[in-house]
Symmetry: C2
Subunit: 422 residues, 2 copies
Amino acid sequence: MTEHYRKMKSWVPVDPDSGYTIHNLPFGIFSTPELSRRVGVAIGEYIIDMRMLARLEFLEALEIDTTVFNRPYLNDFIECGRDVWTKTRQILISLLKDTDDDSPLKPHFERVFLPRRRALMHTPIKCGDYTDFYSSLEHATNVGKMFRPDNPLMPNWRHMPVGYHGRASSIVTSGSEIMRPKGQVLPKGEEQPIFSPSRALDFELEMAFVVGKKTEMGESISVEQAREHIFGMVLFNDWSARDIQKWEYQPLGPFLGKSFASSMSPWVITMDALEPFRCAGPKQEPEVLDYLKERGHHHYDVNLSVEIRPGRYAELETVSRSNAKHLYWSISQQLAHQTVNGCNVNVGDIMASGTISGPTPDSCGSLLELTKGGQEPITFKDGQERTYLQDDDVVILRGFCEKDGIKVSFGHVRGIVTPTKQ
Amino acid sequence: MTEHYRKMKSWVPVDPDSGYTIHNLPFGIFSTPELSRRVGVAIGEYIIDMRMLARLEFLEALEIDTTVFNRPYLNDFIECGRDVWTKTRQILISLLKDTDDDSPLKPHFERVFLPRRRALMHTPIKCGDYTDFYSSLEHATNVGKMFRPDNPLMPNWRHMPVGYHGRASSIVTSGSEIMRPKGQVLPKGEEQPIFSPSRALDFELEMAFVVGKKTEMGESISVEQAREHIFGMVLFNDWSARDIQKWEYQPLGPFLGKSFASSMSPWVITMDALEPFRCAGPKQEPEVLDYLKERGHHHYDVNLSVEIRPGRYAELETVSRSNAKHLYWSISQQLAHQTVNGCNVNVGDIMASGTISGPTPDSCGSLLELTKGGQEPITFKDGQERTYLQDDDVVILRGFCEKDGIKVSFGHVRGIVTPTKQ
């Protein structure tokens, strides 16, 4: 990170606590009562209407069909390719940077910028295939102990980023209601399952990346190429019904215990914005196979937290603090593994990390872990207890990067639990 | 099936052995050197160009935007809804039926009909989410014995149609090359995996259905509603790399051992065409939970077979004969289970049955079962042996229904194994 880059400021007012800085410039899809769904970029308390920016001819240098900014998903913009993403960012930085000369954007402020609080944010990506990895050693060990006390970490775990295919259709964004799923559960000590609303509804603190470049069947992406194939990252809540999951998941993996909903944060943080926050991951022992070997750093230092509002009239309280740098497997290793067999990927595919638990008890990324499988409830300030989520509970995941005085926020992803429909 | 329906014949010549009868009328996507990808309907040795049929105003009664027939996937036509599918079929039957009056289509024969051998068939469906079930008791038991000798059939198996999410991006159609995948495998008796092309490439004889009506998150489809939500069915080859699968699949299920390719047959057989072939399934013991209970018959009597051409210069030989009626779980139960937790489905979602093995040794739907886990090779007429597939081997799945003199063919789905790219 150059000193020049670090010191860069915007003439658009950005609160010192805000992570929607000129260093961030995340992409999302918004609408207002007047404006249909389209691409926006966040800065400070504002959203830049990219369609309007194009119409005012500020994006001519991109040499693309700028109607890609007038779409209900980011996919068509992402299809334009990495050079276009980076060039778009450079144009935005040059327009937003505080310099001696006034920005040519200032006279158009009212047309191009709108207050974020006035906009409705939508699911930014039309997801083709969604993969959920299982890349935190701490999470895999914590959960493994509960589901398989005699065999917590499978022999394959340290050799590959274990993952499974998830359900793409039920990926939603912040603010969505999460209906408590119903299904088969096996009451303790019984041999016959019953049909019931889940009594063990949980969140999972994850991050996810968005594939930015397609491959053909038969192609593989190497670890070193992987970042070139990734558009950006989001926060991701992989809602889980532990009782449904426990009864169904053998031998083919999680299915209805997960497929009812996953929530992604609305702003996609680009890999360019995250570049200053690259860091080393944990040492991998035993040594991995060649196709998973990394040169340099492929992890990201992202501070993460989970807040719960237990019930309608309670206050939000932080229940976990973690960091993406704790992940054992990097996003580059995940993408290399996903494609090593020749599986093709498409723009808009989403690959999530798996629950990001840290080494300490307060850094566990799920209630399953925080409450030791529902055995030890957590207590809130108002005296309420929770093992798993109750109706009306709100869960918020937050994330931000901070280094040498620059801050890049992931914002948050919020979900509210609603009762099962009968 | 009325006598009238049964006796119906077309004025278009249909070979007595052909299953592309007036009772069938499957939908697919074709192109020729002159015609771009579009919707076609098969009859005899011909394809009906549905775009041309619309242009000639034979489809006015549908009261839809007939440009849906000029698309590279069937999805937009399917979106029109069940009434439109049925009405389209009725119009086609009335135009194709041999009656005393000449069909108004006859004068347009050259423009509307083209020989099937001149057309290239494409993947008919743009798949959103792909689910693979595991619905054959025989297959689950056969495989369970090999992977988990002490625990072949999991306790949940007879209570629910176990399934997992598969990879939608790599679904291709008949004629596609299937590149031998590479990946991690654990050599026998070793503790460290190696990286290698798969040495245990297998087919899986499956059928799949195509979802025809979307649901919203939180909704569930009952067993009795399910058929209304299904557009049609295809043959499905869920290619599997057993060595990769074996090492990776615990605890989250199949991933890279499956995601490199799945092949679907190009003609989608509608539920209307399959109606005469509904039949009873096996008795389910113990009794299933209410949401899985069926009234009437939800199984289909579809004769299935697998042929292999072992190497470039060999002949095709049948290695397995099975039938979809052997499946323990019906497609209605599969769709009800998939959505019981509130998971939404979309038009174009594909749900496959899992390998359809029958009760006899020659009805096993995979080499894993036919060769007892690679222990007992099968021998071809020319003396060649196979445990698993070799490069240049061709696998063809075929399917047809026959009852009271009427025949409905699924055609076939063919794949050829090509060497791993290095």
